[in-house]
Symmetry: D2
Subunit: 154 residues, 4 copies
């Protein structure tokens, strides 16, 4: 179960990622769902996000970006759950240091679609390092990419 305190922290984290990170706003990343164990993000296709101009395919860098954001937000939610008993000041300091150590993207199919959805789940959660797996699908459920990210938390 997730406590009210955790929910408030996730709202603050979501606000940072979605509303205060300029590059996420440039892409147009939106939040759909955010819990203690996962996140769902939405990216409406837009001409500016295209890589291959002939086939109108989502740029692989946009795919990497949204999957990294999904992984990072999930790692931060796991940290909030684990560190819930810290003071707000300490927790804030720890969360603000969340960073990606490494990221692997597997591109499965061309990024064709009108809307893309990124999801993430934790596969390893430790005191210092969290590993997440991410997926990108389009509005028809076509699986476009897998991601694996290793995050330093606090």
């Amino acid at each position: 179960m997730t406590s009210p305190r955790q929910q408030k922290w996730r709202q603050a984290i979501a606000n940072t990622f979605i509303n205060q990170m300029p590059f996420n706003q440039l892409l147009g990343i939106e939040l759909m769902d955010y819990s203690a164990t996962g996140v769902k993000l939405k990216l409406p296709m837009d001409p500016k996000l295209v890589g291959n101009p002939i086939h109108g395919i989502l740029h692989g860098g946009a795919t990497a970006t949204i999957l990294d954001v999904a992984g990072g937000m999930t790692a931060a939610a796991a940290a909030v759950k684990r560190l819930e008993n810290l003071s707000s000041k300490e927790l804030s300091a720890r969360i603000s240091k969340t960073g990606t150590i490494d990221l692997r993207i597997d591109y499965l199919r061309p990024g064709i679609g009108e809307v893309f959805y990124a999801t993430a789940e934790i596969i390893r959660s430790g005191n210092k390092v969290t590993v997440a797996r991410m997926e990108l699908h389009n509005q028809e459920g076509t699986h476009i990419a897998f991601g694996t990210g290793t995050y330093l938390v606090g």
Copy 2:
């Protein structure tokens, strides 16, 4: 040595990547050098590319994007070298199918800087698959990220 035909092909490829891919233009990626064995790209820092807004750090997705572009362009140059004897039509068809299979980014230091430079070199070149290693440095030579990309070519 690189032939005039190869140079013409690389100019065409560079034109596609730099001038015709909307997402690369959105970021502001510029070409500095492009040979049969490597590429050097430039990314001037810009407020819109920031991830962490407190410290003004380049978003990890922007890092992934420019490293993937550097790897893809180098893989395409290697394909041109290898397939130089094909007809223009065949070569064009092969090159246009270049795609990233998988990408790993290792984030070494925060992306702080005024200008970033991405370089790539081929570490495995085959008939079907090319693997490249990429690096991102800032204007002071600080090493910010490593990348490894596996590309399908033609």
Copy 3:
């Protein structure tokens, strides 16, 4: 559905991997199940496979080995399915060239157990390149490692 011809090919491939590859025999890898879409391998724990001697943990290199074998066998099965109409000579030549391009292992928990099971499934299947995801569990179902492998086939 899987044809008798495919089954015969998989038997031959399994025979190669399990009975004719010395390093797989050194570890003691056994085959449990092999279909057109996946494989299940078994590795009984043995003192010689230990990395950390204090806690008797399976060496990460043994984990990498069995996950790579699972991925490679699954990639070969996918190739058999795709290339079923080739002559036996051509098919044999293509299969024998199966090789790992790159491999990522995510170590989730210490490799503690009496028996380990590796499974693999295809996530991208193309003419030239196949990508597989692999998992390692122990006899209690504890999830020990994830793998992702990119394979060149034929």
Copy 4:
């Protein structure tokens, strides 16, 4: 410069990796050089290490194993340097918890040779996580594989 205390610690670590880890002894991994910034390991080719039996090629799992060992030993040496002022008891406890979080291997060429050499260098060194790059060459200097490993230290 490296202090006598660091050297003693590295000797103890090397003794653990080379003489007390059964799987490393099964393969026949030998130590050639071990400093604060890198390691060089040696693996004489042996029939039991073969994967592809037709061409007598080193199994990709053996490659992954020795590269992971090289990366782990280098991460431990970096930890010794960083934590030199801890008491022996604390340092021992920290070092003994060194573990691989994730590992990527890029297979560049078939593992053909009489002797293989693995080297590693640190590319990111932090309080909690160290990232190393590794290389495998044969006795003629042919570059066979690259590795990238993320290690939890202490």
